[in-house]
Symmetry: D5
Subunit: 92 residues, 10 copies
């Protein structure tokens, strides 16, 4: 499997239709929780004070990660940084 | 409890005595594994291609985190970035 | 308790309705002063020449800080940087 | 009076004589505590995970602040950023 | 007295009403010249090739400087950097 | 398989023993060419004017890539940036 | 021939007419595939998590590359970085 | 005479009236060519892949350069960096 | 004449011979004061908290400025930024 | 032919043997002037206040440029940025 550290900074335009915003955020939550249940989205934390998150994904490949990220409902309003992780020699 | 995302970039000077280097790295590993066993150092991953790690700490307070980080045997050779985390609304 | 250093840079869009702007700024002031009275928002200074402030918060946890910051009426128009603080060995 | 926000990042060279290091750090502490007692150095916090501090000075003038900072025993080993502060309109 | 180095980068939105622009720029000039006559705004130079200036202010305090800067008619369209200055040991 | 874009900036210390330098560079070349023959190191180009290269690796996983990179003879003298790649929708 | 490493970051404005967007993206794909068939656009990879690509062009000259890039249908919505490459001494 | 290295990055807003755009670009070309004929604008090159140029101006003074640059028809849509040059000791 | 804004950040190596340091700093002061008397070095201020200065030079040309700056006794230990200035339209 | 804009920032280590420094700088000058005579090194200017130059090279290819730059006697002490240029549509 492949482990990736992903930072997502969300910036939803102010003039986005209110209903579209609400639906998109709801779809984002459902989408994320589905992937969490599947064990793909293994960690998701909110960065204090920011509309941003740090996530860790456990996926088959970078290809799969790309599909997951670009299918995020909020993808069009995100800056995304991806960093591949590997096992640390001190990890238990 | 308090959750912190910590990035550590290690740059051990080339002219550090070889035995000191080996001992320090060994003490670092033991120190880290002890904290992992205690549930304080909850995640540690190596960033691919770098002598760096991403860690997540679950501590009583920022004060405790500071004590832990500054007591790292490799602390003098590290650049450290600390980011407080909180629960994400989508987290299961 | 947990101490956090927070920098807030405010950038209210020019085309925001004037009344909304005035109300929001007023609500921000009331909200801030309430938290100051409660001893949570312990310091707030204006950075000279900028629509920005440096604040120090004394909170139960980072979780509480996140709730406070994201509930700021001006939050949607802010860039926020959060840095955890701890007691300095020289502090009296 | 004049209020200044000062960030100090300390980087003491590894090859500094051990005794010189210990004396300098001790003199730095005494110097800081003297200024704290005089009400000049009003706040000093350690940034978690860093050999750095955030301080706030209440001085007669920027000239006085410069004398204070350049007289810091650790000054030769510091990166210093100074930001003038002023009263925030929301401050109680 | 207190001496401050201030860089102002001006970026007036293209869609600002032409008459508002002209009046604002005129008020800015009058305001600046008034402060120059009073000896507060001691230097103002244009940075070649930029809609920016380098200024030096001689004021009672940072508080006064903040009032002056935030009262600039063009303030809403400016990025401002403030640096406190002090007497140089080589200055005649 | 997993595709990674890797930039390597090499900065060999001037005071490295000349023979060590020559051997290390030779071992680096042999190591690289072996991986190229195996089809792992699929591309390596020199960036004009720099002691740097852009490489593309086709590996089993990020774990494997990390092993490869940290085993580079010149690794101690390198700044390395790793970016996961995936198939472009326009690629033939 | 001349080899160039090109990074393209695409940011299509939200308010671009949907049909224009679709046509432009289609023309971009056709244009790219034509150049790939001609052997000019030798590599194109998607950067994981980003609407960006890393490409390598093999062209007669920088002049030709400029014509190719500025004729990209998506050129108006791109940030482009160009780096000349040359043969690496370790390349097989 | 005074020699200046100037980088100009052009970013014409998408919603600029098409005729205004065409006229402005035409006036820019005529203006530039006139200054080239006068020997003031001594070099102008396009940066490959960018709507940017590197220019070298040979002018009486920085004052003259400022007048020239701020009179550029495209000036409102430009980021400009100016660097003073002088004769290189190796120049023939 | 030509007006230039120059920022000088001084970083004298710790291991510079003490006598050389003292002589160099003294020569720097004498050199600067001579140019101040000649009206070339029109302003020199210390940046609070830094071993840096902001200076303004009034010289015949950039060529002359280059000779002046590179002849500074502390030049080898300086980072220097030069910005050409011109008369501001609001300047009295 | 291919035109390249090259910025070279020189930082010769203080502890380089004086004679080596003098010879290297002399060889650099001779090398540069030879290439200028051949019409390859078409422009070289000193950036005011810096031990840096802006150069323009007219070469067969980027490969040739790389050979030229890496053969510079001062190459080991340089930071080099290379930018491909092409003909500007306004150029006479």
């Amino acid at each position: 499997m492949a482990l990736f550290h992903v930072r997502m900074d969300v910036d939803i335009p102010r003039d986005l239709d209110e209903q579209v915003r609400t639906d998109t955020v709801a779809r984002e939550k459902a989408y994320s929780q589905q992937l969490q249940r599947e064990g793909t989205w293994v960690h998701i934390w909110r960065i204090v004070g920011q509309y941003s998150n740090i996530s860790v994904f456990d996926v088959e490949s970078a290809d799969e990660l790309h599909k997951i990220l670009t299918a995020l409902p909020l993808f069009p309003y995100m800056d995304i940084e991806v960093m591949p992780l590997t096992r640390h020699p001190s990890a238990l």
